[in-house]
């Protein structure tokens, strides 16, 4: 609880600090090098309960990678994303611990520090497409919309290619 209070206070301070500067610009996010792996649709697309189960539908999955630059003077967070080509889009992270690959869903978003950049890349953060509605072949493109905590949505064109 205390931590949240502190964070809140910090946030307020940051806001105040921002107000004092002459030109408050906030975060300014740009995406570069946006690409997705080729992927297949799967059998029937995702089932709404998630669990495939024995003989159940197998959602086709894909992953999108990119570098997000925050040229602004305020941090932001990548919270979620949407696309027409998949039923569900989630933010995931892979970690290699020892020799074991672990994947986890990021529910609190990815921090994009002011003046910094974060790269979503194989073996790290990725935007995961679940329940593909069509195959993603090399050379294909599709649209992806990124949602941030502060910044406006960002519409991207994603190119499908082999890494």
């Amino acid at each position: 609880m205390k931590r949240w209070l502190l964070l809140g206070l910090l946030g307020l301070l940051l806001l105040l600090a921002a107000c004092q500067s002459e030109e408050p610009s906030g975060p300014d996010i740009e995406a570069e090098g946006v690409w997705a792996r080729p992927a297949v649709m799967g059998d029937m697309g995702a089932d709404q309960d998630g669990h495939g189960g024995m003989g159940g539908p197998m959602p086709g999955t894909g992953a999108v990678f990119m570098t997000l630059q925050n040229r602004g003077d305020e941090a932001d967070r990548l919270m979620s994303a949407q696309t027409d080509v998949a039923q569900v889009v989630e933010v995931h992270e892979t970690m290699i611990q020892g020799d074991v690959a672990k994947m986890q869903q990021i529910t609190g978003g990815i921090e994009l520090p002011a003046g910094g950049s974060v790269t979503l890349k194989p073996g790290g953060y990725h935007i995961m497409l679940i329940g593909l509605k069509r195959d993603l072949g090399p050379g294909d493109t599709f649209n992806l919309m990124l949602n941030f905590e502060t910044s406006q949505d960002l519409n991207l064109e994603v190119e499908v290619r082999q890494p």
Binding site: H92, D99, A101, M103, Q105, P122, P163
Partner: protein, 206 residues
């Protein structure tokens, strides 16, 4: 059991790192005690545990039938969006770099998610990378002894907030078997393509 094997592997891997660290720089001639390989080398080659599983086309695949060929094994799953396709993408490049020698190499992907990875699903998934790649699946009872023999760690992790329902944490390195059927090497996730090609070529020359 699995944890012990993981420990053993950690020791082997650290020894490998030590070896690399103690060895000369790149390009220096290999000393008598230095491994010519770039992956982690098993101190004593062991006969690779033999198994027979069905491939993505429903055909039986027996490891001991692959004598004369180098076999690369990787354990993963088709819904895995990152580590597994990265490895398969690397393999595709290894295959291309090997040229005609690739005919003497088997690229074998064994599922750690038999519940979802039907032969059909593996077929679709592997077709994205190379038609020659082999995907093996079966019942957990058939697969478990293979995981055990190679010290493969896998853990189904419930992901209630994810549309996938569950994810599978798993060993991310490959297992390299020489043309005589001995398990010789491992490459950790992210090993450069060059190093894998180099090691496969050395084993083919054996």
């Amino acid at each position: 059991m699995t944890k012990r094997l993981v420990l053993v592997w950690l020791v082997v891997a650290s020894l490998g790192v030590l070896l690399v660290a103690c060895g000369g720089g790149d390009g220096s001639p290999a000393g008598p005690t230095e491994s010519p390989f770039r992956g982690s080398v098993l101190s004593q080659p062991v006969p690779a545990y033999d198994f027979s599983l069905n491939d993505q086309h429903g055909q039986p695949f027996r490891l001991s039938d692959q004598r004369g060929k180098v076999v690369l094994l990787f354990f993963g799953y088709a819904s895995c969006p990152d580590v597994c396709p990265t490895t398969l993408g690397d393999w595709k490049q290894v295959h291309a770099r090997l040229g005609e020698d690739a005919d003497r190499v088997r690229f074998v992907f064994i599922t750690v998610d038999p519940e979802r990875d039907t032969p059909e699903r593996l077929k679709q998934h592997l077709a994205l990378f190379h038609p020659d790649f082999i995907g093996l699946t079966g019942s957990l009872e058939e697969l478990e002894p293979v995981y055990q023999a190679y010290g493969v760690y896998y853990e189904k992790v419930e992901a209630p907030e994810s549309a996938l329902g569950y994810l599978v944490n798993h060993t991310s390195s490959d297992f390299v078997i020489d043309p005589q059927g001995n398990w010789r090497l491992r490459h950790s996730f992210g090993t450069p393509i060059d190093d894998i090609v180099h090691d496969v070529r050395l084993l083919l020359e054996d």
